[in-house]
Symmetry: C2
Subunit: 227 residues, 2 copies
Amino acid sequence: MSEPAVAPGRPRGGRRDEILATFTRHVAERGYDRANFGDVAAELGMSKGTIVHHFGTKDRMLAEVQERYMRRRLDEAHGFLARLAAPAERIAAFVHAGVRYSVDEPATTVAFQREVVRLTDEPGMETARAQRDAYRDLVVAVLHDGEAAGVFVPGDARLRSLQMFGSLHWMWTWFDPRGRRSAADVAAEFCRTLLRGLGVDEPTLAAAADPDGPVARCVAEVCAPRS
Amino acid sequence: MSEPAVAPGRPRGGRRDEILATFTRHVAERGYDRANFGDVAAELGMSKGTIVHHFGTKDRMLAEVQERYMRRRLDEAHGFLARLAAPAERIAAFVHAGVRYSVDEPATTVAFQREVVRLTDEPGMETARAQRDAYRDLVVAVLHDGEAAGVFVPGDARLRSLQMFGSLHWMWTWFDPRGRRSAADVAAEFCRTLLRGLGVDEPTLAAAADPDGPVARCVAEVCAPRS
DNA sequence: GTGGACTGACCGCACGTACGGGCAGAGTAG
DNA sequence: CTACTCTGCCCGTACGTGCGGTCAGTCCAC
């Protein structure tokens, strides 16, 4: 490798992050089962053994991808929940954030969404699963709050959260950041239909869905410093 | 095998359907990549060679699963579209039907939804992809009709169809037919939120979402003769 | 005889990963 | 400064296994 500046004397890491990023991209493009050490190593000009050295097993590698992803999502969610109080705005923020991720970190997002199913049963995924559940519970709580406040019409909050996550998690199968529909378009349309479906009045939902509105701007600020 | 009645002298097929059903179940449980001929053959008490004899390759087997599934869905869709005229009822029918399938044919549905992504690029999937596109176009057309008729508020029909399919296609990751929430509950909640989000008035959407209402009954009749 | 259903042994390959060793920098004693 | 050692990153290879697919041949119905 013609990598001159590997920051000599680097305590931890080295090419670790590089490996994880490439692996993530391969998982996004082919799925976990078809992603393999050989291709990742070849692309990085290193040996398969190096990858094993850093991560041990393929399972653990995926687990680390999932955990890092969910940690960022959780941090970000706490960030905009702290700045937005109204339930309608909070739900809109979750939608804007969910769509944003497909653009900000397409590989990680697709990798996560393709392989979410492994969170349910696979061993070694307990942490990531707990994070995912925590995230969903944040949404459910907001739905309950909105219902209690009379902003949302009564309904099954859990089912509604699953309906919402379904729309967002399915995006990886069709969304193209360079396609005709921009992320802002998608977020706005999803917000409008969802919030209207929850019983939010038109002026409120129009403001919350607006790609240039306060909610979208708040989410952009929170998500901007991509860690 | 203690299978006495294999209908001796069966012209075509023989154990063909049986093989396809078992393969489908394995794909549903483990995903396409982890499903293999050996396990299917062992479960059916036959040789791997028999499976190859009937289907040639694994790819073609999956393609056949997808095509059969989509054919049934298309037939069924044309069935209820012929009996229901109002756009709101038609959309509700698509939702009821989508949820029903997770109960009527859980294995095939999960297998299809897990592996839909292969429809987009994989060669040999042209037929299934065309069927999938045709199905989506049916929904988009209904959304346009409803918009033109003033029943739905204006919006991006394509995006709305994707939002709707996302909710339904994601079900395989969480829905349990024997769980606390029945398919009827899910369909009703999804219908209400979606139709309200499209701007349908409360009495109309309540009737269309009702698990015992005319729309759900119509869908049940059309889907009943499971081919 | 003819043709389709089915068998079971076998092939080749791809992939995860175990293992032994090389090498460069940091710390330390002299 | 030098020499030695320790440590962590990295390499290359080799191994075991699992799996898709091939093939020659048997059995059986017509």
